[in-house]
Amino acid sequence: MNILNILEEIEKVDGEIYERLNPRRKAMQDFYNIGKKISLAALPLAMGSLFQKAYGQTPTSTVTDVLNFALGLEYLEWNFYNHALVATPSLVPDTNGAKTAITLIRDHERAHVNLLKSVLNITTPTDPASDGTKYADYQFEAVLADVFTNYQSFLKVGVALEDTGVRAYKGQAGILSQGGDLSKNAVLKTALQIHAVEARHAAHLRAMAAASLGVNLKPWIAYAANGNDTGIGLVDGNYAGEQNTTQAGVDITSLFTAANGSPVLTGAAAQTAAAECFDEALDGVSVKKLANAFIKSSSGKQFT
């Protein structure tokens, strides 16, 4: 099967096929890049989806909205870590792997930015310092004044950013799933892969914060009455709902019984295990409101 032959055949009856495809050329590239190799068996399916995009038969604006939302969050995260490393190089200590870890996390956020830009067909500018956003658009100090002068404050904000990022992706997954339609939902896999990387970051940052602050902060989010197990009152909103212990109507605290042939857990211990073992999603409106606190309203870059 030769895709060029097919396009030529279409050109005979539709002279504008290339023009139709061109503004969405990225839609084509996505099939080659994101999904990596498309097996021959799956090719007809993928091509069907490609032409749907070219002819605009399938409204994909909601998926595009989600990707733009994700890009905005990744820009926010990247700017946070990048500013700390570049503008305040003595903030993150070069001991116990701290600087290496923050650098790795920063680079992952950059890779997510680049990937999402590619999916969204944002090709210019390519300079990381001015590619659609700039540090001047952000106001991390407005949330926590000493965030870039006090390492512990920096870690506190980092923990909240990562835990919230995990919640944000989870909250958007349903839109990307397209009802399980494999011809349309390749991007869901990519989003889930980013989601898990953010969770790895969150767990590591929580360990860094626990060590630096001398507090008992687990890699997973433990039970707290208001959902916020970090002890940082400033970020209560970021954790609202994490105290949930009921999933799809099942009371998770009731599952740790001898009848299940497993160790028994009751009371407060069952409650915290039940809250820890499921992370909670956060809806887009709530995430945007929380994220906007870090973005200057004058920048025009706040989420709407």
Binding site: G180, K189, A202, A203, Q247, G249, F278
Partner: protein, 246 residues
């Protein structure tokens, strides 16, 4: 005989559910009501699911023709993880640090909760208990336990990431999403116990479908995951009706 009675009952339930007096909207509300809804729908589908005698020839079949196949797949993997951590926590390696001992107990309860959640949600559609094989793991040595835990967690993350697209129901996808990030937290912590700073070493996860250039975690389809889990599971697991992903 009893089976026939049950199926007649199921057909009646199914009939009343889809009766025109029950609109689509209220059906969705009913189905979304939680485990009871899942169980009821599962019961309605039982006749053609083939789970009545799933261990007849000593094996289990995961039928991916609908979401129940995906949920049973998750249930199978959670059974494996729970069995592993119960063993780890019941007789901790002598060279565990106090924190490792405590956190492995936490992880044990997380995996028990995941296993029991799927069992309850799937109800009569659930596959039976799997027989595990941990003979390759030395539970008395922290290094051996950590190495196995790393494999289980990284593979679990890749499994959920690779199966998410198969789920038709947004409710089930959300549940899977709530679980997979906890598995990723486990993976992150376990990796740091082995090599500090390796929490998100994606280059080392390329065999699980990770992409370090784009900072993407692992993602594998069930047909790729099960052979990797096979050394730890005695029960034969076969897969049918798995759709090809691009």
């Amino acid at each position: 005989m009893k089976n026939n009675e049950l199926e007649t009952k199921n057909e009646l339930q199914e009939k009343s559910l889809f009766d025109k007096t029950v609109g689509r909207r209220s059906f969705l509300q009913y189905a979304g009501a939680g485990a009871a809804g899942i169980a009821l729908v599962a019961a309605g589908c039982k006749k053609d699911r083939g789970y009545e005698n799933p261990v007849m020839n000593g094996g289990v079949t995961l039928d991916f023709k609908d979401d129940f196949g995906v949920l049973n797949y998750a249930y199978a993997l959670e059974q494996l993880e729970a069995a592993f951590y119960i063993k780890v926590a019941s007789a901790p390696a002598s060279d565990f640090t106090p924190v490792q001992k405590s956190y492995f107990t936490d992880v044990q309860f997380h995996e028990i909760a995941h296993r029991e959640f799927f069992k309850k949600a799937l109800s009569t559609a659930a596959i039976p208990s799997l027989e595990v094989d941990f003979s390759s793991i030395d539970f008395t040595k922290a290094a051996s336990v950590l190495a196995a835990a790393k494999t289980f967690e990284d593979l679990g993350v890749a499994a959920y990431n690779g199966a998410g697209r198969l789920l038709v129901s947004g409710d089930f996808l959300l549940i899977a999403g709530k679980i997979v990030s906890v598995e990723a937290r486990h993976a992150s912590w376990v990796r740091d116990q082995i090599t500090p700073g390796s929490f998100s070493d994606l280059a080392s996860l390329s065999a699980f479908g990770a992409d370090s250039t784009n900072a993407l975690d692992g993602a594998l389809t069930p047909d790729k995951v099960l052979p990797l889990a096979k050394p730890f599971i005695k029960t034969a697991i076969s897969v049918i009706n798995l759709k090809t992903q691009n």
